[in-house]
Symmetry: D3
Subunit: 269 residues, 6 copies
């Protein structure tokens, strides 16, 4: 029996913010972490969504909502095995699953939680600002991991500040991770923003508990899920709550009839 | 002391589907049910959202997501006291609250639940198809009313079928409401779609328990909430999870800078 | 079509403590906040219940339990559309709903929570003493709002102290509300006692988040609920858990056969 | 060391319905099941509470509420170690604990649940009518045993019918217990009314799982709790939520100043 | 009618740690607290399990797992009415109930919780080290008492340190109990380790709320449960989740065919 | 940069039942599903645990408890990256994580749930007999997926019957899966026993929703987790609840000092 398996998995890592300047960072991450046979497309949205440099507000998310859905549909039509919506809010994830065909749809938050609960009884999430707490907490509770939350801790920084000042970001991560472990008794840390990228290893060394980087968790979980879809047919269910609209309706309503034009696409082999 | 109070409340009832053919139905309802001093604007979205004749799928919701947000922003700028997003999924409600200023944002589902729990220990929700269950159930649990759900019962009809065939709809409502009361032990019935409009009174008479029409529940709750906002200043909080983006950011990102053009507007005095 | 609607709603605001000295305060509130057409009767219990100046203890509640039920029955027989049991513990509310006919029964706690969750993701409750916490927390959890509680904060004052020293009360409210917002991350404050009346507006101005006064929340919610009962027939369900005892049984057991004699009644038109 | 322990425990079994005709039945049960050294007083309320022959309705409970509290206070002053409020609704139990001094207060429902969860993973409760479900379910959830409920099953009989027709009652218990075990997968049965007395043993024999009689569960749990109070000092806490009102206040308010006059008292040695 | 009842109950108190040096301490406790007619056998495991001086780690529990099961089986075959597995983790309790016949199986944690919730709205658990928290918290939540937990507080001591230094243990208990009551608002304290034996009375005197010793709670609950099993037949259910393996299978698999040899047995009459 | 990544991952698939006859079946599965670079060792326990042909009873689990722990320890010492305890009860998983070093420990139940919730809103679990329900349901709730359970459905077969009669097993799976989808509204099916191996693909084809085979889910999740441990250092946390006993204590207590002797080992490259 030939052993192909995960070879030639195709995964899209969609950057759902309204700009593409971080795409290369995620491409580098993908290059470093993906399996040999996996092809990863780092894409970002059409710039018509607006020039948001963060998705910290639900308002900004609303601006990328439809394009994200269209991008997911496009990826599905292009035959991708899995797509990652690369923001820790896991935006549009439920809508995306409906239109994804059997392609698997993943978010960094859900993936990080799945990694964490396999290796720890609880976790703390390090977020930028209290603003984020309500939505992320609701999301994690919806996933079923509410009882696993040791705490949310804030770095008191915005996403643009993460990007602009990585060394300050790392310092704050270390500081809050220590508090999370010592005071909140966290057994594991999840970095609650894909833009906290690049720090987990160093922090982990210092703190002494696993520190989950959400982009990497998402990529590797996507690879696993994509493989299972391919070999075992475990793609997104299309039944009951996940039943998609009919193609006839889409046509009649004049929606999802055009290919989606991504703003950027970096292919990592 | 002058007794003005709710006089001159201004409420927008937004029909978030991609067509305006039902607007008059909701306008008639508003005419019949609103207080004398209240001004209700029945609006629908710009037709550019697509010609959906229902929001049964998350995909369709994604198409009206941003326009709904823009409409909420517009209503807020026009000085409305409250807005109703007139679909039982309560779509976009959390995002809308962020950008609404202190205007109150309401959904028919939340309003119906609030009415129901004041007069009954539990309720059943009559939905069109099983498809709807997952999302509505999650929404009601998020609101805190999960333990009050006696059951969901399906009419096995689509929204267009509700609209096309009211008498069949009424019959099915009666049939499922009876089952809900007798088998699921519901003390109250909620009609789980604004398009089940026009039937509650007759059904209620037959069934013998309160049957909540979601549009009316939303309108009257909105009047109450709008009044409290006006007299007592109890408008939408702007703190923590509800903190809005700054006007500077909106401008910098090129979003929400233009007035929203509604597809239709009926003013009911 | 004639536009009568809420005109001539009749609401009773029952002061369930064993004295009537605050009745005028609540009457003044009603005068200021009620709609024009609404008639509000501020009543208090027959002094035979005891001369309690607070209901901070379950023991005291036991002394007003039966008279409150009788008062509710009486209001129902007098044709009131809604009754408010004016204590934040929402005492006797479940029993009252059973005997209320289709009159709506409301408590300030439930009403305040309903107002709060429409405009905020969470709330803190400002109570007098830790003593109150257990019962109020259980009540709010029973209503389904347990996950919305940011915190309870204590003013370290008794009800008689609230009444005797309003300026000190206000100061304490401001102090604890600040802590609730800043430390407990509350998006909204609920004053957890009807005797904290008169302070919400000033506090709200200072704190910058909505501060819910429970009496006003109850009155305005009662007006809305009474209207819905009148126009739409959405009165208290009489099915299953809300099934009332038969009039035959009441007669046979010699109970609820006499009109209830209120201790005081102020009519506000 | 002298081995006195539970010897001379004093327990009151209060029949909180408005009549004493079943007191002898409970006295016989106590005689049969109590430990040698225990003294049990079977008491019933002063007939002034009304001539209710059941507590199936919250309304009827309201009529016995205050007298039950007074009876508890009286028992405490008479030096009883524990009191049972002998109705499966566990009425007034929380209020009673506040005024009980360190005497232990127990209800048949709580006691039955405690017995059941020690010997089974779940249980079904056999009630008379659906009417009872809502309140009992809420009570059991409040105790923490919500997840242990396999089902409620109704005998479709009233309390007076239980009393009037024991053989029919037994037949119905057997029928519903079988359904509870076979269909609802109950591992244990709780009889959800003290008036289902006298049947458990026979039913248990037939059904093959433990069938808990609530009066016996309450009596034996009370003996255990009373013993622990006496030997170990584990009486009802008086802290925080259980803080009692001061004797000064009771006096000032003119309440609880007179000894309570029971309607009936049978002493079982 | 002869009044035998609990007379001649036979209870085993199994010390599941790998040594017997504390057996006499528990025997003395049993002597002091048991009813006259009760026979208590203090047993410990066969030393082949390992020489653990604590069960603070799941690893150590694994070493006593099978022997504990065998001991339970043995006790059942010897006709004991109830067995206590004397460690606050309540180890092996669910497995034990399966093989126990109708003998009742109890753990100090479950028994302590049952005692506590009868006399207080909540409780704090005083544990040795944070290590213990996760497992004990999960256990208490599984029992249904999760909402009753005011807090866990740590003495920062190991079990061997409890044993080696009782006066220091007592001091730490007092210190943490005070914090639990004053800061965490506990109405009751549970000592979260059977090796905190000997201190509860003094601490209780000082702290002013009930302080539950888990060994005593277990012994007295076992007596009550054993009595109910004997008089009322309320032994461990054998249905559904509690269905035991067949004796044929045990024989075929070569397991549980030999009598278990205890390491130690002290009989207390 | 060299792209090694998951190459040379080492995973142990431990068959925790007391016999090795199915080891080859799991080895064949591993051969078919593993990545090229992964080395999988299929092991079974030392036959001294007993000759159980199933783990349907907690009693049988108790017999493999310690050996499973020892096997995990052994795997950790041999440098495995991950171990699967190959029974759907996920036995010993929490204890194993404590002693596993940073090796990842997985169970088929947890892995199956993680796969399912990424592609469906809910799932049904097909078990052999009702006996299994209680424990598995508790486990899934502990993981956080309780709200995702659509139903448990029973095949009414024992594990030996699964093994002896695969075609009957498949038929029963199809029958119950259909009921789960159509009546319980499951969007996904999980086969609740590793011995239901070999059927998922055919069933899935017929049923039309994903049918998760637990062994495959476990193997592929283990590969992903092992990879993350190797590249990112996300091995099992050793903090707080996961703190392992000291090597000194192990030595002092005379436990875990000898290498574990597996009953069988098949190496799959």
């Amino acid at each position: 029996m030939e052993n192909t398996k995960n070879a030639s998995l195709r995964i899209m890592y969609l950057n759902p913010v309204g700009f593409s300047s971080l795409d290369q960072v995620f491409a580098d991450m993908a290059k470093e972490y993906k399996e040999e046979g996996t092809e990863v497309h780092i894409t970002s949205l059409n710039p018509s969504v607006g020039q948001m440099n963060n998705l910290e507000y639900r308002t900004f998310e609303s601006f990328i909502h439809l394009d994200t859905l269209k991008a997911v549909r496009q990826a599905s039509l292009e035959g991708f095995d899995a797509i990652i919506i690369g923001c820790f809010y896991d935006p549009v994830i439920e809508d995306a699953r409906e239109i994804a065909g059997d392609m698997v749809v993943l978010g960094p938050c859900e993936a990080s939680c799945q990694v964490a609960v396999r290796i720890a009884n609880n976790f703390s999430v390090l977020i930028g600002r209290r603003k984020w707490y309500n939505q992320m907490n609701e999301t994690i509770k919806r996933y079923g991991y509410g009882e696993k939350i040791a705490s949310f801790r804030e770095l008191s920084m915005t996403v643009p500040e993460f990007v602009a000042n990585p060394s300050c970001t790392k310092e704050e991560i270390i500081k809050q991770a220590k508090i999370a472990v010592e005071e909140d008794k966290a057994e594991c840390i999840i970095l609650g923003c894909t833009c906290e990228i690049g720090h987990y290893k160093e922090v982990q060394e210092i703190i002494g508990v696993p520190v989950i980087d959400p982009s990497i968790a998402a990529l590797k979980t996507a690879e696993s899920a994509a493989g299972l879809k391919k070999i075992s047919g475990w793609g997104t269910s299309k039944k009951w709550g996940l039943e998609p609209p009919s193609e006839e309706d889409l046509k009649a309503f004049g929606i999802l009839q055009e290919p989606y034009v991504f703003g950027n696409r970096i292919i990592v082999n």
